[in-house]
């Protein structure tokens, strides 16, 4: 199967005077349609790794290929377009725009490229809200929803542009275990239905065990990489 994400010899060093190396020569490939998890202790460099995959951060050395495209030669604005079209982000915190309703938030990534909402995309947004169980609250402002609803809105938002990759950093870190279960089953459904590649950072072993591949990062290196 083709590689959706490929990392070649990724080093990441922070700081100018006092240098702290966070990642050491990471070589990693993620296949299309894979449902992957990255685990590791806090400070192990897993979030940095995810940010580098998501082109939000730049490696000190090494190359990142997204869907076969080399990213270090792209300009800031080309990267923005790449992120918008091929990636969806889910973070521990939802980062919804509190001034907008749930549905408007979901449509936001689409609006970044095309301001006018077509009938198809409107229908798709409704479908996503249905899928995440938000139909009843879709016209609520982001602030008028529960934590679980907010996080599910963030998931629907990550999917609106039908991205090939979803990057999730502790997507259930702020939620109770029941809600976490629901969120994961939604993510899994999306993976199966839309063939989206997932890379999920989690510290929850039970959740990691449900993924197809577990990568453990320790002290900036790959400590373990198991496929089921």
């Amino acid at each position: 199967m083709a590689n959706m994400i490929e990392l070649k010899k990724i080093d990441k060093v922070y700081g100018e005077k006092i240098k702290t190396q966070v990642l050491f020569g990471i070589d990693l490939k993620f296949e299309e349609k894979g449902f992957n998890s990255i685990i590791g202790e806090s400070g192990s460099g897993k979030s940095t790794l995810l940010n580098i995959i998501g082109t939000l951060d730049k490696p000190t050395s090494g190359q990142v290929f997204i869907d076969g495209k080399r990213t270090d030669t792209l300009s800031k604005s080309e990267l923005a377009v790449l992120r918008n079209k091929t990636m969806g982000f889910i973070f521990q915190f939802h980062y919804l725009l509190p001034e907008f309703t749930a549905k408007e938030n979901v449509l936001m990534p689409y609006r970044i490229q095309n301001y006018n909402i077509t009938r198809e995309i409107d229908k798709w947004a409704d479908e996503l809200l249905e899928l995440t169980g938000l139909t009843k609250v879709k016209n609520n402002l982001a602030t008028d929803m529960s934590g679980g609803q907010q996080q599910r809105t963030a998931i629907a938002r990550a999917l609106i542009n039908k991205p090939k990759i979803i990057l999730a950093d502790e997507p259930t870190g702020n939620l109770d275990s029941d809600t976490s279960e629901t969120i994961y089953s939604i993510l899994r459904d999306i993976n199966e239905n839309y063939k989206t590649t997932f890379v999920i950072i989690t510290h929850d072993k039970r959740i990691a065990e449900k993924t197809d591949r577990i990568i453990e990062i320790k002290d900036g290196k790959i400590n373990m990489d198991v496929k089921r």
Binding site: D57, K76, A80, F89, Y95, L96, E99, P109, I112, Y115
Partner: protein
Amino acid sequence: MRLAFKIALRFLKSGRGQTILIVLGISVGVAVQLFIGSLIQGLQINLLETTIGSSSHITINPTNEEKTIDNYDRVLYETNISSPEIINISPAVDGPSNLDYEEDIVQVLIRGFNIEDADKIYKINSNIYEGRAPERKDEVIIGKDLALKSGLKLGDDAVIITPGGGSLKLNIVGLYDLKVASINETWLITSMETAQDILSIDDKITSVEMQVKEEFDADIIAKDLSYTLSQEDLKVDNWKDQNQSLLSGLNGQSVSSVMIQVFVLVAVLLGISSVLAISVVQRSRQLGILKAMGIQDRDASLIFVFQGLMLGVIGAFLGIALGFGLLIMFTKFAVNPDGSPVVPIYINNGFIALSGLFALLSATIASLIPARISSKLNPIEVIKNG
């Protein structure tokens, strides 16, 4: 771009308290600026009107020994074609003379005009409070103060001792009040013919007076005029050269008024800028996720430029309304005993438009700093877990 506008609008709507505060800040600034500007302008126009409104702006004087202009038709014609800015051209026959009344003899100034022409400069007709303007030969009008001093009344004969030593009777047909005591006390206004007779200068005149449309261009127009005049022995004077201290006073006032206005605007600018900068910090997480989702840096900064623009527009309109309110209140409450305002306010549409434009401009400039912060914002700095 439209998304940036939509987001900007939502940000303003949701942060209502903050928005009202900034708009109020801008409005008060614009209002104060408008008020001070209009007040000073009104003051200056008023001062200028009283000082030079009813006097000659440019005067052509002869430099020959007799102090007379011979071929004055030609001078009038050349003056007329010199510049379209020149208006109210009036030839004058002036000369000193003495008025002999019962108790005393006082020195007076004979001013022979073509009344119709001179009226445009001095508003003689509307300032005659008794009688009428001189029409026939040997008719004269005298000022209020001279009438009081000499006891001469309407219909009396004024006895004039000519420079040559003879005496002449002029019939007083009117009394005027030109609102300047020194004029009211000395000018004997009569026809050109009568004045020529008294001064025995035949068919000559002693000066040509005129006004210009733009008072402050008087020196330039005067210069052009002196080039146009073909007669050699003429000198062209203008009010600006003769009123240097008034001019520097007006200038000083203008500069200080502009200074106050600029500082008010700077204060407004700093106010908007700081509030918007805080709002960037407040919304940095949302901006971070927008950037992660692929919004361009340009659009991220446009959000704040649009906010500045919208605040500027609303603030400018409110400020102009508020400024007008202040001006109206000022003309209502700061009044003279007779009910007329202390300083008549002149509404200058250009100045108001400029005020509004400046407010808009400062709001936009003020938004550039937060826009820059927003553009530079790195998503991973705000999207950190925990």
